[in-house]
Subunit: 154 residues, 2 copies
DNA sequence: TAGGACCTTCAAGTGCGCTTGAAGCAAGAG
DNA sequence: CTCTTGCTTCAAGCGCACTTGAAGGTCCTA
């Protein structure tokens, strides 16, 4: 982790909790992306990206001299993380709270850690539930006639 | 599907795709429950139970001579299954569709099986995603200072 | 037979997570 | 220079899954 940060652009490897899941290939080699590029890359819509920024779920996004958003790799990392958190079922309001803690710097490490631990607990519980559900589904599928390709059976 | 209607207590094991997950202890020994009892047992609210019936997500619930709902063990089994399906993220509309197929009898076995197989695929994918997320969470928790009880670290 | 808790229906309201519309500014191609 | 495409803001709208409110009937206990 600790941020990529080659030569062009990018900010120094400050605090930040980001930059863990940056495995995806980036839209291009550089560090400036339009909202459309980010939308394509993340799968979020452009309005959603604007909305995320508006509610404080994004760090302040850089702007061009004329006011257009310029996302960078850090933003992409953050969005990848946010998308993971959404996947766990975490409400947007909670993610905004987390983003606020990130903004407040290292002093909030303990609190952030606690939030993520709680989230981890919930994810583990969720996985267990889904695995139970898998068994239920399997037994019902069997009940309906397990034969793979058979189109009917009654 | 072939109404309950026996004397007291449970019906014969007809068609039905229900009755797999009936492990829970029932509110009492008999086979007639008020909406309040069912609400407590299932964790769904009474309005939600009425709404489920209204949209066709429940089989027609028996009524007392004065019009009050009388749920039975079959209804409880069905609700347990529905709750599982909800847990997978299946939209209510899709569950209504499934309930319709159940009402149509054995001729829809193949289609029901296909739906559940698709659901199973989705659940498996969901579990995989959540497990990936678990790794991300763990690496971030470590980043924030893995020490269990340490309240700060910067 | 009165009171209170619980049931009924129907319709409207709520909260969440976006999405869409309106009106206008900006960047690049012909 | 215009034209198209894409960006901007702000506000309103939407779909889903319930929830709540209003008005009234029912059950049960005292």
């Amino acid at each position: 982790m600790t941020v990529i940060d080659s030569s062009p652009v990018t900010s120094p490897p400050v605090d930040v909790c980001v930059s863990v899941g940056s495995a995806h290939p980036r839209p291009d080699g550089q560090d400036r992306y339009t909202i459309r590029e980010v939308a394509e890359y993340t799968g979020l819509s452009a309005p959603t990206l604007r909305w995320y920024e508006q509610i404080g779920l994004m760090p302040q996004v850089r702007r061009s001299p004329t006011g257009q958003r310029l996302f960078d790799n850090r933003d992409l990392d953050w969005l990848a993380f946010v998308t993971r958190l959404r996947m766990t079922g975490m409400p947007v309001a909670d993610m905004v709270r987390f983003a606020e803690l990130v903004r407040q710097g290292e002093a909030t490490f303990a609190e952030r850690r606690e939030i993520l631990r709680q989230t981890r607990r919930e994810v583990i519980a969720r996985i267990a539930e889904l695995q139970d559900t898998l068994f239920v589904l399997e037994s019902k599928i069997d009940f309906y006639g397990g034969a793979q390709g058979a189109s009917e059976r009654a």
